[in-house]
């Protein structure tokens, strides 16, 4: 009957008491707290049409966490594309005579064990990290969400097979897998690393995508579209995907940060990028033997790495807060 039977609805959870679960008493009393477009007196609504995305964007703009992390990320992307913008020097020109020297004018971060300028190399190292992070995330997101959506939507045998495969991938220790697989690769570019991360990373997104597609599939609007005669492709693309994509975006953003640190880990272990390439992992690896004498050579690239990873994780958190219907 009427009243408290509406299922879970984003904007109704405002005054939840946590006592009655989905049929929360206070929450349903708060039902009329929703925007009320057609005022009984027939007044014209003045607010613009709003979608989940524009609502989320409105929230994000007011969230300091988002603003700070977005600013950091924009800066990172900028120097990844044009490192010479702020570090005009050549990262490969080193002077052994100045090895392990501290900061000096023109060389604010000092020199590393090879006598290379730490500032220049740290700035130039951003490119490898950002490339790996962005490309691996794109690959993981595309592969994982396509497979996950298909498995969740069609179910049956494919779902069973794919889900068992993801279980196998979850069982592979990432670093060990990287040591084994990447040690046979000779190419000294970011692409083997990207490929490796995509290979091991897709099951995570696959699970998220599959789960949210299964949830979205159960809604009546999917049945309504089917009753109209809509094709599977239409239902999947127009009705399910837009309603299932939010968690994928959130998880992918957070994963981007962890992929950057994974690249550093692999490079540190010598199976990712190798010198003469420039990357934060390589810097950290090279600086670690003489960390007592020249800690600055380790701290700057490690600090850059930490700030970058943190920025992406915070961005993911902010996006989740904005998209998570439970909070609106």
């Amino acid at each position: 009957m009427p009243d408290q039977q509406q299922p879970y609805e984003p904007e109704r959870a405002v005054a939840g008491t946590g006592m009655g679960g989905g049929m929360d008493l206070a929450a349903s009393e708060a039902a009329t707290l929703e925007p009320d477009p057609e005022r009984p007196d027939g007044a014209r609504p003045q607010d613009r049409p709003r979608s989940l995305w524009s609502d989320a964007w409105r929230d994000l703009r007011r969230n300091p966490v988002f603003l700070v992390s977005a600013l950091v990320i924009c800066f990172l992307v900028l120097i990844a594309i044009w490192p010479s913008l702020i570090a005009p020097g050549n990262p490969l020109s080193c002077d052994l005579a100045r090895a392990q020297d501290g900061p000096s004018p023109g060389h604010p971060f000092g020199f590393d064990g090879q006598g290379c300028d730490v500032y220049t190399r740290t700035v130039h190292g951003a490119r490898a990290s950002v490339t790996v992070g962005v490309c691996a995330t794109l690959g993981v997101a595309v592969l994982g969400s396509v497979l996950g959506a298909l498995a969740g939507f069609f179910g049956g045998g494919w779902d069973a097979v794919l889900s068992r495969i993801t279980d196998v991938f979850f069982a592979i220790p990432v670093v060990l897998g990287g040591l084994v697989l990447l040690s046979v690769v000779t190419s000294n570019t970011v692409w083997p690393v990207v490929g490796f991360i995509v290979l091991l990373g897709w099951p995570q997104i696959y699970r998220i995508a599959r789960g949210s597609v299964i949830t979205a599939k159960q809604h009546d609007y999917v049945q309504a579209a089917r009753a109209l005669g809509a094709s599977d492709a239409r239902i999947l693309l127009r009705h399910i995907a837009p309603n299932a994509v939010a968690p994928v975006i959130v998880v992918a953003t957070i994963a981007l940060g962890t992929y950057i640190s994974l690249e550093a880990t692999l490079s540190y272990l010598g199976v990712g990028l190798k010198p003469p390439s420039v990357s934060w992992g390589i810097e950290i690896s090279a600086a670690s033997p003489y960390v007592r004498n020249a800690p600055h050579a380790l701290l700057w690239p490690a600090g850059a790495l930490a700030v970058t990873v943190l920025a992406f994780i915070m961005l993911g958190d902010a996006v989740r807060d904005a998209l998570d219907p439970k909070l609106r």
Partner: protein
Amino acid sequence: MLLEVRDLHVEFRTRDGAAHAVNGVTYAVDAGETLAVLGESGSGKSVTAQAVMGILDMPPGRITGGEIRFQDRDLLTLKEEERRRVRGAGMAMIFQDALSALNPVLTVGDQLGEMFRVHRGMSRRAARAEAVRLMDRVRIPAAAQRVGDYPHQFSGGMRQRIMIAMALALEPDLIIADEPTTALDVTVQAQVMDLLAELRREYDMGLVLITHDLGVVADVADKIAVMYAGRIVETAPVHDIYKRPAHPYTRGLLDSVPRLDRKGRELYAIKGLPPSLRAVPPGCAFHPRCPMARDVCRTDVPPLYEVSEDRGSACHFWRECLDG
């Protein structure tokens, strides 16, 4: 009086400003009496009950004014510990959704027995025996065998009986039932309402029945309070209100339900929608939907006029409404 709510105000702080869920509600229940609080979603009927029970989530909820007197004590000034003693032993609540109100990982026997162990300090064994006795009391078949079952192993009607048993455990003086049968089928609803009425008589309890169903009200209530937008708009003994409503909202509700015993053509429909609690219309909250609205309704909030000794109506033109 067993329970008296006086001029209660509750608001919710939300992201988009304060929502006035309850705006000055006054009602009273005596021992052995059934008061039905009738209203649609958002009318504030459940929030009022939660405030009385002391289970309102604060924040975001906040009681901004009024008094709740139970057995001549103002509950709002009691300490939380004393308040807790009143809950359970003094008053108990039955919820709409028994499945989520019961703990899924404890057996019903444990949950029923816990009441006795906590409030009466009984031993485990004695508490279990009490649980079986209570389950018998609410006519759950084979109670002794089922006392070790989990909530999900019972049907909806049986779960609602367990909720009732839990509410009855400490023989409270007042039971608040919030839409106790809304989730049930009609044949099961009839069983549960019958049980509730019988137990109320037997224990001489006061019963506050919160519902949107005019049929259920007519079946069990002694008096009614009709709520709209956080206010009581009409209060009356049950026989009077169905015969001659004194508020246009009550009249509209009565005319808009289809009847089992006759086949009319077009239903009367109250135009428009219930108002948002964040923007309750000025004056009488019902005026934008009211067929009788005049200028004064748009500006002056109607007080609860005394229609007769035991009736009240918050309509400036209640006389007209009474005369149809």
